[in-house]
C-alpha cells in the first residue's frame, strides 16, 4: 500500500492505481473527458491536470501512477487556472447549440462549463465548420462539430466491441472522427458509444430528438432481451418508454448493453398491437369482455376437464412471481402434472461478451420456481404429443407466443380450450378461446433469474389502467407531477393489463383454490419460503444490482 495525500488528507491506496482512480475510490472527483474506468488511458483531453508536489509541471491524473509519499492537490489555484484554460480551448470550436443537442442535461462539457470555466468567451472569430448529421452506422449518428476528440468511442470500438472501425483524420482543429473507408460502426454493441460520448457528437438514430432528458423519468430495471439480464434504466415520458440505457453492474453487464436489447425490448410495451383488456371467443369471434367475466369463464371452462386432460405452459419471458403463481395454480389447484415451458434457444446467436443464445430473460428462474413436469407428468414434447393424440384437451399458456413455433401451431386446433396470457396480439391470441391481457416487464414488480443464477428486479415504469403514478410510487418526471385534467400530456394512454400472477390467482380463487396474493412482494415471500434457490431472499436484499440465488455455483464475471 502506498501512502499518498490528496488535498491535505492522507490515504493508503493500492500502488498500481493511477491518481484519478485513487481519488475516485475516496470520493474525490477530478474532472475528466477522455478517461473512462472501462477503457484504456488516452490522456489527450488534459482536463484531469492536478498539481503534484516536486513535479515541475502539472500532471494528468489519469496517466500518473500513485507513488509513496505523493502529495496531490486537485483544487489549487494553478490547477484551476489550467482547467479554465483547457475548457476555453475545448469551447473555442464547440458549437453553441445546446438547445438543439440531445446530450444537453447529461453533457459532461456542459456540466464542466458551469463548474470549471471562466463563464464567458474571449473568442470572436468564426468557429471551424465540420460535417454534421453523418450516419456512422445503422444506429449511431455523428456531428463532428460537437466532437471534442476524446477518443472514447475509438477505444470502445477497438477494445470492447472489437470492431476497430473508428479513427481520427486531419490535424489540429480540423480533426475529424470518421470510420475507415468502406466500413461502418455496425457491431452489436455500437450504441454504447452514445453514453460514452461526453458531448452530443454521437447520438442514437432511434432516440434522436425524441425528448429532452429532463422531461423523462428513469426507473431501474433489467433488460429482457436475453438470459444475460443487463441492468438498465427505463426512460419514460408521458407514460411511453423512449429509451433504455445500461446501468453499471460489474457482475452482469459491466457498463454496457447490446443494441438489440436497447432498441427492441421496449417496442412491445409501446406497441399499437397491445391488447386492451381480456378477450373471449363468442360465437367464433374474439370479443372484448370484462375481467370478472373472463376470469369466471376461465374457471368454469377449466372445471369441465379431468386433471390429466389439462396442461400448462409457463413462460421464460414471465417473471419468477408469475411462473410461481402459475405452477402453483396448475399443480396445487387444478392438480395437473403436465407443466412445462418453451425454451427459446438460438444456437449460434451468441458471443463471448454479453449476448446469450437463450433469448428469454428467465429460463433459469422458471425452472427453479417449479415450472417443470410433476412426477409422471408430461414435459413439453409429451404435451405436444398429448394434444396431437387427444389425451390433452385444455391448455393454459403464459406470456409466450407459442403458436409461432411450428410443432405447437400444428396441434393447437385439436384443443378444446386454450387460455392465453399475452400483452400483444399475436398468433397465439388469435387461436385462443380466452385471452388475458398481461402486463409487460415494464409495468410490474418482479424478479428475473439470469443465466448465472442472479436474481434481479424489474420495476414498473409505465402505468396500466389500474395503477397511479403518484400513489403507486413510480418514478415521476416534472410533467407527471403537475399534470391536470385539462392538459393533453396529462392524459396518457393506459393499457388495461394486469400482472400474470394476479390473473392466475384470481382464476385459482374462482376455481375454488386457495391463492391469496395481494402483491408481487407477497408472491416472492412465498417463493423465498418454499423454493430452495430463493431461501432467505427478499426485495430489499435483491436491491438494484441483484443477488445470486442459493443454487448458483458462482458469479461469472464479464470480461
Amino acid at each position: 500500500m502506498a501512502k499518498i495525500t490528496i488535498d491535505g488528507i492522507a490515504y493508503e491506496v493500492d500502488p498500481k492505481l493511477t491518481v484519478i482512480q485513487a481519488a475516485r475510490d475516496h470520493g474525490i472527483k477530478i474532472p475528466h473527458f477522455c478517461w473512462h474506468p472501462k477503457l484504456s488511458v488516452a490522456g489527450n483531453c488534459r482536463m484531469c491536470l492536478v498539481e503534484i508536489e516536486k513535479m515541475p509541471k502539472l500532471a494528468i491524473a489519469c496517466a500518473t501512477q500513485v507513488a509513496e509519499g505523493m502529495v496531490v492537490k486537485t483544487q489549487s489555484e494553478r490547477v484551476q487556472k489550467a482547467r479554465n484554460a483547457v475548457m476555453e480551448f475545448l469551447l473555442i470550436n464547440h458549437p453553441l447549440d445546446c438547445p438543439i443537442c440531445d446530450e444537453a442535461g447529461e453533457c459532461k462539457l456542459q456540466d464542466y462549463t458551469y463548474k470549471y470555466s471562466i463563464g464567458y468567451s474571449r473568442f470572436n472569430e468564426d468557429k471551424v465548420h465540420k460535417p454534421k448529421r453523418i450516419q456512422l452506422g445503422p444506429n449511431v449518428m455523428l456531428d463532428v462539430e460537437r466532437c471534442i476528440m476524446c477518443s472514447r468511442c475509438v477505444r470502445f470500438a477497438d477494445e470492447i466491441a472489437k470492431q476497430p472501425v473508428l479513427t481520427f483524420t486531419q490535424r489540429g482543429d480540423h480533426v475529424v472522427l470518421t470510420t475507415f473507408p468502406g466500413t461502418q460502426l455496425d457491431n452489436p454493441y455500437s450504441m454504447n458509444v452514445i453514453e460514452l460520448c461526453p458531448v452530443g457528437a454521437l447520438t442514437g438514430t432511434d432516440f434522436r430528438f425524441k425528448a429532452r432528458v429532463w422531461e423523462m423519468s428513469s426507473t431501474e430495471s433489467t433488460c429482457t432481451g436475453c438470459a444475460r439480464g443487463c441492468n438498465i434504466n427505463i426512460w419514460v415520458r408521458n407514460n411511453e418508454i423512449l429509451r433504455l440505457t445500461p446501468r453499471q453492474n460489474e457482475e452482469v453487464n459491466s457498463a454496457w448493453m447490446c443494441d438489440f436489447g436497447r432498441l427492441q425490448t421496449f417496442k412491445d410495451v409501446n406497441s399499437e398491437k397491445r391488447l386492451s383488456g381480456p378477450l373471449m371467443r363468442k360465437e367464433g369471434i374474439l370479443s372484448s369482455v370484462g375481467w370478472d367475466e373472463a376470469i369466471a369463464a376461465a374457471a368454469s371452462e377449466l372445471r369441465l376437464f379431468k386433471k390429466s386432460e389439462i396442461a400448462g405452459l409457463g413462460s421464460a419471458y414471465a417473471s419468477n412471481e408469475d411462473n410461481y403463481a402459475f405452477q402453483k395454480f396448475m399443480k396445487d389447484v387444478l392438480g395437473t402434472k403436465n407443466v412445462d415451458f418453451v425454451r427459446h434457444l438460438k444456437e449460434g446467436d451468441e458471443d463471448a461478451f454479453l449476448l446469450r443464445a437463450d433469448k428469454t430473460a428467465n429460463t433459469r428462474g422458471a425452472e427453479e420456481v417449479g415450472v417443470k413436469p410433476g412426477e409422471g407428468g408430461s414435459n413439453i414434447d409429451a404435451i405436444i404429443q398429448g394434444i396431437k393424440n387427444g389425451s390433452i384437451k385444455a391448455l393454459y399458456a403464459l406470456e409466450d407466443d407459442i403458436a409461432a413455433i411450428p410443432e405447437i401451431a400444428g396441434v393447437l386446433s385439436n384443443l378444446e380450450l386454450l387460455i392465453v396470457h399475452s400483452s400483444i396480439q399475436n398468433e397465439t391470441t388469435a387461436a385462443a378461446d380466452i385471452v388475458f391481457s398481461s402486463s409487460t416487464y415494464a409495468e410490474k414488480h418482479g424478479t428475473l433469474t439470469n443465466f448465472q443464477g442472479r436474481v434481479q428486479r424489474i420495476r414498473p415504469a409505465v402505468v396500466t389502467l389500474e395503477q397511479d403514478r403518484a400513489l403507486d410510487g413510480f418514478a415521476m418526471s416534472r410533467w407527471d407531477k403537475f399534470a391536470s385534467h385539462n392538459d393533453r400530456w396529462g392524459r396518457p394512454i393506459k393499457k388495461d393489463a394486469r400482472p400474470s400472477w394476479r390473473i392466475v390467482s384470481a382464476v385459482a380463487s374462482a376455481v375454488g383454490g386457495k391463492m391469496k396474493f395481494n402483491s408481487a412482494d407477497d408472491v416472492f415471500r412465498e417463493i423465498s419460503e418454499k423454493v430452495q434457490a430463493f431461501k432467505g431472499l427478499n426485495y430489499q436484499k435483491i436491491g438494484n444490482t441483484g443477488v445470486m440465488s442459493k443454487t448458483a455455483s458462482r458469479a461469472v464475471p464479464v470480461v
Partner: protein, 166 residues
Amino acid sequence: MASSKKIIRKKDFSLLQRMYLPEIFRGLMTTFLQMFKPKITHQYPEVRFHPPASFRGRPVLVEEQGVERCVACGLCSRVCPALAIEVQASETDLEKERYPVKFEINMVRCIFCGFCEEVCPEEAIVMSNEYELAFSSQEEAIFGKDKLLIPAEKLKERLEFLKQNR
C-alpha cells in the same frame, strides 16, 4: 400608536363652508370640463385597443418564409412556470436540423409572464398584442401550431421592441 393620537376637528366652519355649495360647484366643474377633453373610452368591440409594443399578449410562434423559426429545443416548455407549453421535436432536412412537429400552448394555463420569449434562443416565440382570449371549453383553449404561427411581418413591432431592449 394611532389610537392614542388626538383627533383634532375644526369646529367653527364659516358660513360658506357650512352651505357646501361652493364645493359642490367646484366638483361639478371638474365633471363638466371632461366634456371638452379627448375621449379615452373605446366603443369596444367596434373600436379596439391597439396595445404598445411592450404589451404582453398571447405568445405566438414567428413564421419566416412559411417555416417556423422554432427549433423545438423545449426551453420555453422547461421555463414556463405554469407548464403551459408542450413541444415535440422531430428531424427536418433544413439546416436547423429539428423543428416542432407538435407545439401546443394551453392558454388556460398561460400566465403571460413572457419567460418563454425571454429564454428562446431563436427569438421564435414572442408575446403578441392579441388579448382577446375567450373559450367555451378547456379543449378549445389548447392552441396548436395552426393558431400559434404568425408571419414575422405581422410581429414587426414586437420584434423591433425586443431588439431595442436586449
